[in-house]
Amino acid sequence: MRVKLLLKDAHVEGIRYYDTYRKQGGYAAVEKALKMTPEAIVEEVKKSGLRGRGGAGFPTGMKWSFIAKPEGIPRHLVCNADESEPGTFKDRYLMEFIPHLLIEGLIISSFALGSNATYIYIRGEYAWIPDILEQAIVEAKAHGFLGKNILGSGFDCEIYVQRGAGAYICGEETALIESLEGKRGNPRIKPPFPAVKGVWDRPTVVNNVETLSAVVPIINLGGEEYAKIGVGRSTGTKLISACGNINKPGVYEIDMTISVEEFIYSDEYCGGIANGKRLKACIPGGSSVPILPANLLLKTAKGETRYMNYESLSDGGFATGSMMGSGGFIVYDEDQCVVRNTYTLARFYRHESCGQCSPCREGTGWMEKILKNIDSGKGKMSDIDLLWDIQRKIEGNTICPLGDAAAWPVAAAIRHFRDEFEWHVLNPEECLRRNYGLAHYADAREVVA
């Protein structure tokens, strides 16, 4: 039996409401945490080895210990619920169905960080979720878990829900802070980091919804117990939002010890490729991370089995590996066109670039135009090298990671599927009618069988 921490009660009817959530043992972690000191909670989170679930995988405990604590200046905790990465919808599931888990995690984290005003910045497209969260906040407040002097501990905390206006870039923490302040959502130039100067120049910690929810089981179990789940530096459980050509798309909680092959083919998770097709490729961590062809997805370049955890997915670097990212697991079957897919992603990044720094503003638009040409059979051979050169000049030269996020999918597509791009150039008419097909990166599993 797999361990479930976040979604263990997801099937219980009415878990969205306080009474049921409380009956299932909810808010016990708050009661426990408020008897601890804030430093002890940070220490537990450090011990748990929890890594940020938003994409970068930065150790949460370490992030918390970086927050500056100047005398007389309030600190803030901001929950990043601007989940806009194509293919990622795990936070939505948490907020929509188990909102109290997030609220509970927020109360504990606010106490640990000393934040009396905590914000949930939620993406504008999740139009119905702020109401759910606000209702949960009202319920928690009515039962004394929010407001003044929570459970007699002397700690005050209010949680505010702030709606975004629908911009991918506002998921970047400094852009989120700008937007929260009511300004244009342009990423700030770091340093200073938010831990020193964040919202209204006050020390701020920005964490993902899943990260903050994971604080609840950490307090319930204890940091050391939590660290025993999972493998190596990938501790605890991770939510994976699986989508694409699979039989059972959805949000799954995994404990990071299962292999990618098991995740795709077992009935407990994705249930195999839909319609009896074969696996062609997969983007394992949300649209920004490099795409992997089937042979490199199931086995690393060294021939070892690839597992669903931070280390194994990034094994081999970008040459033969990818990233855990935010856990948006997008599966492509043999009928999908990598060039078309890359064009779609490039169009997304062009649309979402904030336009602040030149490589990202101009480069994303340029890449989109070239990919559109190749996709519609108007490409040239030199365009492929040009694309490679453009992505190389964007990556690492921008203010925020959006430039990298736009460059990586293009780079990986060319790296692993160059022959498909070339086929598009050489067969301009045929490429409009049919797909390139499987070729050599076919599903290793099927080939062996």
Binding site: I189, E352, C354, G355, P359, R361, G365, W366, N397, I399
Partner: protein, 364 residues
């Protein structure tokens, strides 16, 4: 204060300089000067919060500091990165930087109309200088350039959005010099534009300074529009008693006519004192001003002619291009015109060149 401030030692392209803590790499490089200084299209030392956007000033940090000599993993924007003691920075000595910078120049130019022949900024345009110095010849961009709907910014300021490189300098000027900013950046990505949300004139007393800070010809002076090329006008220092500003300006003259008034700029092309709209747009009569003397233009612009000496003349290639034929009616303008002799370095002459400068050379 008896307390002595500790200075940070920073090495840029093998030249070591001591600067105060809190100085940015770019400003440290400016203290050295010359080729070592990274170009800056968006950074403006007089505008708080500017910089970091254009990415032309990227440098490689080979060693972070004496205490932590690890190199920085990415290229950093030198205008927004403070120096540390013992930092080693590579600018022109780093191939990575040169490559990235050429890339940024290419990015900046793909949607720039390159309408220099009809642009009032030509000759004092930082983007021109940047592309001459760091760009590559030719473009690989084969698509239609983006265009914008025209916005009217009032009687004094002309906006050419297609030329804009979105440095945000004019937004900072409006925010920091005036009490109400009416223009800003609308939209996002490659269709982001400088505009007022609802068509509105910029009419603050100091808003004219957006023209001076604009590195390209996106914001130009309507009172000077199409009047003259900047390299035909002679800049002189002048001043007047102005109750709003310092009154210290550059007059751009042709004969006795004042064609344009701008603020005085330093060697980095940055304004020394902001001037008011009255000085800039209304005082176009020589009687309004006390002329102090000629301006030494030492920025690498075509105004300081002679900068492009040593360029290869196309003589050798003519016959190749024309399939072995020699052009019949081709004059070597350098041999015909006295004032265009390439052996005279105009940059070496203090002040505007005069015909006597050429005579002297002849005799000598």
């Amino acid at each position: 204060m008896a307390e002595e401030k500790k200075l940070f030692k920073v090495t840029i392209d093998n030249i070591t300089v001591e600067v105060e803590p809190g100085t940015t790499i770019l400003n440290a490089a400016r203290q050295i000067g010359g080729d070592v200084t990274p170009p800056a299209m968006c950074y403006y030392s007089k505008l708080k919060g500017s910089g970091g956007k254009c990415r032309t000033c990227l440098v490689e940090v080979a060693a972070g500091s004496t205490a932590d000599p690890r190199p920085m993993p990415k290229l950093v924007a030198s205008c927004r990165t403070n120096v540390m003691d013992g930092m080693i920075v590579k600018n022109i000595t780093s191939e990575k930087v040169q490559d990235a910078r050429a890339g940024v120049v290419e990015f900046l130019l793909i949607n720039h109309p390159l309408d220099c022949p009809i642009c009032d900024q030509a000759g004092e345009c930082h983007l021109q200088d940047l592309s001459y110095e760091h760009g590559k010849e030719g473009t690989r961009f084969e698509f239609a350039k983006r265009t914008f709907k025209k916005h009217d910014l009032g009687p004094y300021i002309q906006l050419h959005m297609t030329r804009c490189i979105l440095c945000y300098r004019c937004v900072f000027v409006a925010e920091q010099l005036t009490n109400s900013r009416v223009h800003g950046v609308l939209d996002r990505g490659d269709h982001a534009e400088i505009a007022t949300y609802i068509e509105k004139a910029l009419d603050n007393d100091f808003i004219g300074n957006v023209i001076d800070v604009c590195p390209v010809g996106a914001l130009t002076d309507k009172t000077f529009r199409f009047k003259n090329r900047v390299w035909f006008t002679k800049p002189v220092n002048a001043s007047c008693n102005c109750d709003k500003c310092s009154g210290k300006v550059h007059l751009w003259m042709r004969g006795d006519e004042v064609l344009r008034v701008t603020a005085r700029k330093d060697q980095w092309g940055e304004v020394e004192d902001w001037i008011c709209n009255t000085c800039r747009f209304e005082r176009k009569d020589i009687k309004d001003w006390t002329i102090e003397g000629p301006v030494k233009v030492n920025r690498h612009s075509v105004i300081s002619q002679g900068h492009y000496v040593g360029l290869k003349k196309p003589n050798e290639t003519f016959s190749r291009v024309m399939n072995g034929r020699q052009p019949k009616l081709l004059m070597d303008i350098h041999s015909v015109s006295e004032v265009n002799r390439s052996d005279v370095n105009l940059a070496a002459i203090p002040g505007p060149a005069h015909s006597t400068d050429f005579e002297k050379k002849k005799e000598g």
